[in-house]
Symmetry: D2
Subunit: 252 residues, 4 copies
């Protein structure tokens, strides 16, 4: 099982997240690319740190919206979005290359991640950009999303993920961040969910029902105060339960 987290989301004078702590725990790093967060020096340092820890580097591409942290849907047309994604992948690839590593996968961020669960135009734009850049890049996303389906049709490797610290509805969608109880903060509870996801492939929804969630990667969030504690608890519990913790695609 892979563990992924968002890193590289500081911007200039503003720091966010415990990148150093998280990169010592996770196996895959969704590194911001400068459009929703991440100044170039932060990205360069984050890639260097990921490489030092043997963590696989992924490009976390987002809408061009620093003020909104990429969390607001933007109705970008496919040609523009595809170029935006290509630009971000290339920028991060240079950082990875300078660190002696490579970008191995792409994961959309925030509102773009949510949009491409259903939005064909934007999903296709992302897939087009990836294919234009490097058909060997994997795509990390939500099971059943239009993004993963489109990527699969295009011949890309797709990787499904589950969220260990987000509440699920009975229909396997996430409870929106704006609702109470959307985020789980107790490391023990989150770790327990992670083991259940990894071993049984199920998660308990917010109505108490047990739903099947197939995931090759577990996402822990990077911007919660105790993110590293949670990530470490998850990793520890997985290993204790006999689950191999490894990146879904090897770093280079």
């Amino acid at each position: 099982m892979d563990l992924n987290a968002d890193v590289g989301e500081s911007f200039g004078r503003w720091t966010l997240g415990d990148d150093a702590g998280l990169l010592a725990v996770v196996t895959s790093a969704n590194v911001a690319c400068g459009f929703h967060a991440g100044d170039p020096l932060t990205l360069q340092r984050t890639c260097a740190l990921a490489h030092q820890h043997g963590v696989t580097i992924g490009a976390q591409v987002g809408y061009r919206d620093l003020a909104g942290f990429g969390r607001r849907f933007i109705d970008v047309g496919p040609a523009d979005l595809s170029a935006d994604v290509l630009y971000q992948i290339g920028a991060l690839a240079a950082m990875a290359r300078a660190a002696g590593s490579e970008v191995r996968y792409v994961k959309p961020h925030g509102a773009l991640y949510l949009a491409v669960m259903t939005n064909h135009g934007q999903a296709t734009a992302i897939v087009d950009a990836i294919c234009a850049y490097d058909g060997e890049l994997a795509v990390l996303g939500l099971p059943g999303s239009v993004l993963l389906k489109t990527a699969q049709v295009a011949g890309l490797r797709t990787v499904t993920e589950a969220f260990v610290d987000r509440a699920y509805r009975a229909d396997a969608t996430l409870v929106p961040r704006s609702e109470a109880g959307a985020l789980l903060h107790d490391p023990a509870q989150v770790a327990e969910r992670a083991v259940q996801l990894a071993v049984q492939g199920t998660v308990t929804a917010d109505d108490g029902s047990l739903i099947e969630v197939s995931a090759e990667s577990l996402c822990v969030h990077g911007d919660t105060p105790n993110a590293t504690v949670i990530a470490a608890a998850v990793r520890g519990a997985l290993i204790e339960a006999g689950v191999d913790v490894n990146p879904f695609i090897a770093p280079r």
Copy 2:
């Protein structure tokens, strides 16, 4: 002799320059990278067009200053500037790659170009970024500049350029844009200067003196109204004078 011009400097709704016209004439394209100008879709299309015309693609890196078009000196520290340059090279490299081509050289833009004639910290930052990305990239700049000296010491290939449509002082520096007569607009006069530069390696300064200027590339500006006419006149005059017009480094 190589002919280079700035292209890809439109931004969203705002168009600038006759990229299609210029790319049919020049041999090397200094493509903006999004920091001083150039939205991602513009960059993608510009790289595709350059590739179609067999034009070599260079990364024209600049300060992060859309409002100032990169024409205002910014006292960026070396670590930040190096990361900014690396980011821009990578972003453009993705566009070139999607077009089936590659970035082959780097040229700083505007105030950054002027700064690294003398500023060691910023010149070194650019060279560091290039070396971290790809030591095969050439550096295009002004003869005698600190940038070219620093690049040479670092083992990079350096390429000197002269400006066919800019007035020179007797000390081989450019007359600042803010002064009258800084820009030459007459295609015939500019073409004549180009031939003199290519054949004799000299230019007539604004005080009438003849100065030696060694250049492997001639720069024509892209944002003047008759830029394409000037570029075509230069190319025609060079060929008529028996000068080979070829890129200083082949496109890939």
Copy 3:
């Protein structure tokens, strides 16, 4: 009848529109506020020019999206959008004040204009910002839009407008810009439509039907190549038809 046009939409090195020409013809100027277009110096000069011509200054507020020119819907939450609008009104008010004038009305731009035809949250956000700043400001918008209804309930003066150079559907909505025939370019045809709108309160829709359109102001677009010619033709035709051409609210 009032004539309004968008002005102040240049940004740094990039110029757009014939502001000087338009400000000599129209009676109300929708001046960009820096979020979708308009650098501060452009805004300052535009307000000075508007004041010289006795043209009423309005704040054309938009989404924070220079790359998209405010033409892409952004799902901004009401609190953020209200603050964004307030910020823009204040910024432009300073420019108007420095010119010896004042902002007298607000008109949303581009995708925000379209959104608030139906989007209650964003319409209310705009109205809240206006009320918080100055309840004497008028609101210029489309007849029947949620924005105007919300503004009216809040006690603001509302002003309806029609588009002389845009094709209409039979349901009085505009043909989207992306469709052929959406924009009319013939000055004589546009001028004729303007007179029909002003005198009879009707417009001929794209299916040939005659629809009633109540408008206190006629909008001519500023970013078409012959915008000034069209605006002058409209003004001339209106005056010839005996229509008083005056701002709907006096400049200060």
Copy 4:
């Protein structure tokens, strides 16, 4: 004696500084205006909070440089800088107005603050913007700076400040932030310096010499971890020493 601090420097997802804590202690708030920091909603809330606490609102204007937090010198020309300052003052004025208050003074931020100690062009640009907006606004700056001299000649009220938590050279300039010991972190030591500054008008320089510093306001920094503790210690010590702690200009 007035106590001033920088507030409103958060941006979107990124928070910075303990605005609520500081606004309960200081008498004047240098509120960011969106160019170096401060998204509109943050500015609106900060102005509302300042007004609740009876704190005077000042516009902390900066270079247009979010990535550099306004801490990098930018060689902006006077016309552009003046428009940039005017834009920022107006934007913040709208926020203050919505809160039932007003902007009463202007203080440049970061690299702009340092530049206008000696840079006549940029100092004049700021003064021009202030005069164009409202000649009743005061200017807060360093004693002996070109900014204050220029403002005085223009008939503006000038207010001098000293830094209670910054080390001074014997020539009354500040030890640059890049040097060790530039920032003082011990609340007791800072409070003692504040009293010495307020009562005796002197400060002990880093070479041990006693220098005269005339100041009508004392600045405490907002972005140090214990900023509020330091500010409270300063206020407490001043009151205990019999110094009246009041804004240099009353809020409105």
